[in-house]
Amino acid sequence: MWDYLVDRRGLIAFQAVQHVSLVVQCVVLATGIAIGVAVLSYRSPRISGLANGLSAIGLTIPSFALLGLLLAPFGFGITPAVIAVVFYASLPILRNAVVGLAGVDQSLVESARGIGMSRLATLVRVELPLAWPVVLAGVRVSTQMVMGIAAVAAYVLGPGLGSLIFSGLSRLGGANALNATLVGTIAIVLLALVLDVVLVLVGRLTTSKGIRV
């Protein structure tokens, strides 16, 4: 396996970068979408209940099946991969964002309004910063989850380490097949750990000292 690794280090590194870049970009996009939807829904218990329900159901859809379904309209390539990864990534973030925003102390919101902050300013300066640690916890869960899902996206010829795993699996028994699968899988696990550490650091840097526990 070591020889395999050394031989292909260029390709593996390239695919690792592709993988991480797909995941990071998709998670960033998903965070934006999830916060947007959460902001629109958290004030109404009915709509936020609906959002939570959808997020729970969405997570039960097998990623393989969703990718297959996306093939019909979008064909092979990066588009269905991105759509699927963003979809899955946004679900845990959405749930946490709704919970986080709903959990902001109402007396603080009243206080903000009471000193003359507009609705928008209250959201941006008070509610979102206070909900942020909870949102970020969702982002961490999402990132871990879609590291794996992004690998499955290789099935529709998306970028990343998944292609290593799939090509290995399809040639199982052949030369280096097992090595390819193992290297792909281990790389994904390691990268997931690294990303998680990065997210913890991001959390430290973006959470006010006043609300850190």
Binding site: S107, S111, G116, M117, L130, S208, G210
Partner: protein
Amino acid sequence: MSETIAERSDERPGSGPTAEARHVSGVSIRLDGVTKQYPGQRTPAVDAVSLEIPAGQIVVFVGPSGCGKTTLLKMLNRLIEPSGGTIYLGDEDVTGQNADQLRRRIGYVIQADGLFPHMTVGTNVGLVPKMLKWGKERVAARVDELLDLVGLDPETYRDRYPKELSGGQQRRVGVARALAADPPVLLMDEPFGAVDPITRQRLQDELLRIQEELGKTIVFVTHDFDEAVKLGDRIVVFDVGARVVQYDTPEAILADPAEDYVADFVGAGATLKQLTLTRVGDVELRQPQVARVGEDSAPVVRRAQAAGDQYVVVTDRRGRPISWPSLAELSRTSTVPDTVDEHLPVVGLHSTLNDALDTMLAASQGGVVVTGRDGVAGVMVVETVMAAIQQTRGEAQG
């Protein structure tokens, strides 16, 4: 409005600092048939209230829980939109104004947790000036000025987060934030609830001191009738639906409750309630010998002996009292020590005799140090309180 204040000082002859015609920066508030009907409720929470709150005075709302005090207060800054009626600030009808802009002109302090935990004390206090687009330096200067005003050292507290403050300090910051843009009107909804009695009393004293300086129009909601008597230039007693049962000075309400309901509310100990009407500044104080930290002890001891005192009041370099050692203790030292006595009983000139008595009892001492604007104003002893009780008793019986 100066007329009302002059009238007021006649009512409380010699009532010390509050009696002087004070500087007024507030504006009057007039409610005309203000009503709030919450959807799905049969009777309005606030039913056609008309009320005039004079400029520069503290008007306290009291009444049973659920009678509509908070609803009425929040209609003043339109956190709750009235279903009917008109509200005037000065001569200006504010019922149709942009609510956000209106609120920047009205300070607002709520019971607890009003400070934003993710912002420093300085940021919290500077929020409204910043919204009003003051320059950076002006905001910073204002923040320091306000922290000073509420008795918090800016250097120490500016960059702290709310969770790093005690409950009482948080309330002070809340008041500072509300005052930041120098609003003519301050709305306070049970701002000193949920703090211990001694801290509460200090906060009340501070508010009175600040008010003496600033002369805002303050509307203050409380459950505590003693607090109402202490703080209020006038008290509004409400019943369900925010019906105004009585609107008068504390003295008048205590002396002559308008309905049985008010008498019940005021409570049976009305004679002792007079203790709440008399201020520490109204009675004669003893003048102790005052020594500064670091002075030579011997001359201080001699001075006190000459005056026939048993103790000396020691102040820190800013003139604030920190301890009152006996002459025996002091004569064992060469310079006046800077030990801070955590339990030193201290009240302000605005404190009531009731507060002073509470403070003495809490500290198990027979007297309290009284502080005024420029440091120590004197010492009040328990005998003075007793004499006041005797006197009001005599008046009540005779």
